[in-house]
């Protein structure tokens, strides 16, 4: 019996070799520090927050969620956020399509893309401060409006202000994504369609849209998730006690004004769930346009 145990390793290659055959060796271990970091500082806090949301300060395990959905001051934030995020996402993504179609043939595209990357880089806090003055009652925008005879329009400290800031920071993002998807479509497909007599409109609906569908779905998801988590501009440019009291404000107040980490985690989980639900709906409905592999240009 001891002989059998001794000969057994001889039949099979040593563990080191067996692991190496499956591509696990010293080099593979290099992935561990970064993976551990993400586990400890992303997966663990998220799980911790999820569990914590079921351990309210008072009441049974569902008390936080029950409180959220029974208090209009709290559950109205979901509606307020959707009322901002859905129009902003649709405007940003769908306006970006015709513009990207026009821009993609430009030779000096880079000048425009560089200009558009600036608002993304500056971030929402700076845009909020800029728009407060620019769109304010004494700002240039209202001055031009009254010059052409429209008169003063209230554009800040309300829904419009937040919407405009979401467009200013979100449109360049959506546009750059659409542009990179469009440039990935093989132009010879369109040339072929044009040769066969397809007009621009037909080429758009029958060639570009089906090929763009996949990218469009991802663009919608990323743009929506970004606008849904609006925070600084909703506070600074909006009416944080009224029309633009978005869900992130409720989460912030629970965490840093009421010091109720459990309730704050519950609101964060509800926020994450709303984002996930919309992403799932978008990804499920992309089949409406999608008609096969988009490998154009590489095949």
């Amino acid at each position: 019996m001891s002989e059998a145990a001794l000969t057994k390793p001889a039949d099979r290659p040593p563990l080191r070799v067996r692991l190496a055959l499956r591509d696990i060796d010293g080099v593979t271990l290099l992935v561990l520090p970064a993976a551990l970091f993400v586990l400890v500082l992303f997966i663990y806090p998220f799980t911790y927050g999820f569990v914590l949301s079921f351990k309210p300060k008072a009441g049974d395990w569902l008390a936080n969620y029950r409180k959220f959905f029974s208090d209009p001051f709290l559950y109205d934030t979901v509606g307020a956020t959707f009322r901002l995020a859905i129009p902003a996402t649709l405007i940003n993504v769908f306006v970006s399509i015709p513009i990207a179609l026009r821009v993609r043939r430009l030779e000096r595209r880079r000048v425009l893309t560089t200009l558009l990357v600036v608002p993304i880089t500056l971030g929402t806090v700076l845009i909020a401060e800029g728009l407060l003055i620019y769109l304010g009652p004494q700002g240039w925008f209202n001055r031009v409006l009254s010059l052409v005879g429209i008169g003063h329009v209230r554009l800040v400290h309300n829904y419009t202000g937040v919407m405009l800031s979401l467009i200013l920071s979100g449109f360049p993002f959506a546009f750059l994504l659409t542009l990179s998807h469009l440039t990935g479509i093989d132009p010879s497909l369109e040339h072929a369609a044009a040769t066969l007599g397809a007009k621009a409109r037909a080429r758009f609906w029958h060639i570009i849209m089906p090929l763009l569908a996949q990218g469009l779905a991802i663009n919608l998801c990323l743009s929506f998730v970004q606008t849904f988590s609006v925070f600084p501009s909703a506070v600074l440019l909006g009416a944080p006690a009224g029309a633009t009291r978005v869900i992130s404000i409720a989460a912030y107040q629970a965490a840093y004004e009421q010091y109720d980490a459990s309730m704050a985690s519950a609101i964060a989980m509800i926020m994450g769930f709303c984002q996930l639900a919309v992403v799932a709906v978008i990804l499920a409905s992309r089949g409406v346009w999608y008609r096969g592999a988009t490998g154009g240009g590489k095949g």
Partner: protein, 279 residues
């Protein structure tokens, strides 16, 4: 495809260009407003400020303790860039060169922090950091900012490393290079452009990262963008011009690095890296 240029198509083209110009003009005018206001003595009910001065920069520097804020900002950004490079590049190398079981799960692990917005995971993360006594000081701000940047470096570097021929490394081995010499004399020079681009993007993103810094910063560990938020939030306490002076200083710190970054990367790379991995 030039045959079908009808009048309606021309109008459509003009409308689209008008939209682009309208967007950019408004954006530039907004920036110009901030800059002009920061240099203006008094600006009320006129097209331009009544006079120009630089004194708001001095008062902003003192009022907002910008010296300390800038030091904190650069400490945070420097640490984030360094650590995300040290953690991210080796991980990207392993993912690019090996195809081990479970690699898809690991890639998903790195994708999640980039797809879920910081506001959503920021609150539970800040709760954990405060419990571990990292919250409210600079180490907490650095740790929180690393959560999206480490995966970012990994995902940017993987395709870059994949396009480097592994036979070059094999050749170095054949000529007797040890792991260290291979790393210093072969890999590092080959990877340098990619690492530089990835870390510059991390730098630009970290200066502008508001949410995670905001949730974890204490009184002595505010970064520039958090200090700017508090100044705008409490507008009325200080002169609007000195808030704008701070905004200009913030813009300069961001845009200088953006200009440097754009020498090495395409503007679209700033937003599109996630998508390429997600598809």
């Amino acid at each position: 495809m030039k045959a079908d240029r009808s009048i309606s198509e021309r109008l459509w083209a003009i409308a689209i260009w008008a939209l682009i110009v309208f967007f950019i003009v408004n954006f530039l005018a907004m920036i110009a407003t901030v800059v002009l206001n920061s240099f203006g003595t008094r600006w009320f009910n006129t097209w331009l400020p009544a006079g120009f001065t630089t004194r708001w920069y001095y008062s902003a520097w003192d009022e907002f303790q910008l010296h300390d804020v800038l030091v904190v900002t650069f400490e945070v950004v420097g640490a984030v860039v360094l650590v995300s490079g040290i953690l991210g590049v080796p991980a990207a190398y392993a993912l690019a060169r090996r195809n081990f079981p479970g690699i898809r799960a690991i890639v998903l692990l790195f994708l999640l922090p980039m797809l879920i917005p910081p506001i959503t995971f920021g609150i539970p993360l800040a709760t954990v950091l405060y419990q571990a006594r990292f919250g409210g000081n600079i180490s907490g701000v650095i740790l929180a900012n690393l959560v999206p940047t480490v995966p970012f470096v990994v995902l940017v570097m993987v395709p870059f490393i994949e396009q480097i021929d592994p036979r070059i490394e094999a050749a170095a081995r054949v000529f007797g290079a040890g792991t260290w010499r291979l790393f210093v004399h072969v890999l590092l020079p080959l990877l340098a452009p990619g690492i530089l681009a990835a870390l510059l993007l991390v730098l630009v993103r970290t200066i502008a990262m508001f949410e995670l810094s905001f949730f974890t910063a204490g009184p002595g560990s505010q970064t520039l963008v958090v200090a700017l938020y508090y100044a705008v939030y409490a507008a009325g306490v200080r002169a609007g011009q000195s808030i704008d002076a701070m905004a200009v200083i913030y813009m300069l710190t961001t845009l200088v690095w953006l200009l440097i970054a754009l020498r090495f990367v395409d503007p679209t790379q700033i937003v599109t890296r996630v998508k390429k991995e997600a598809t």
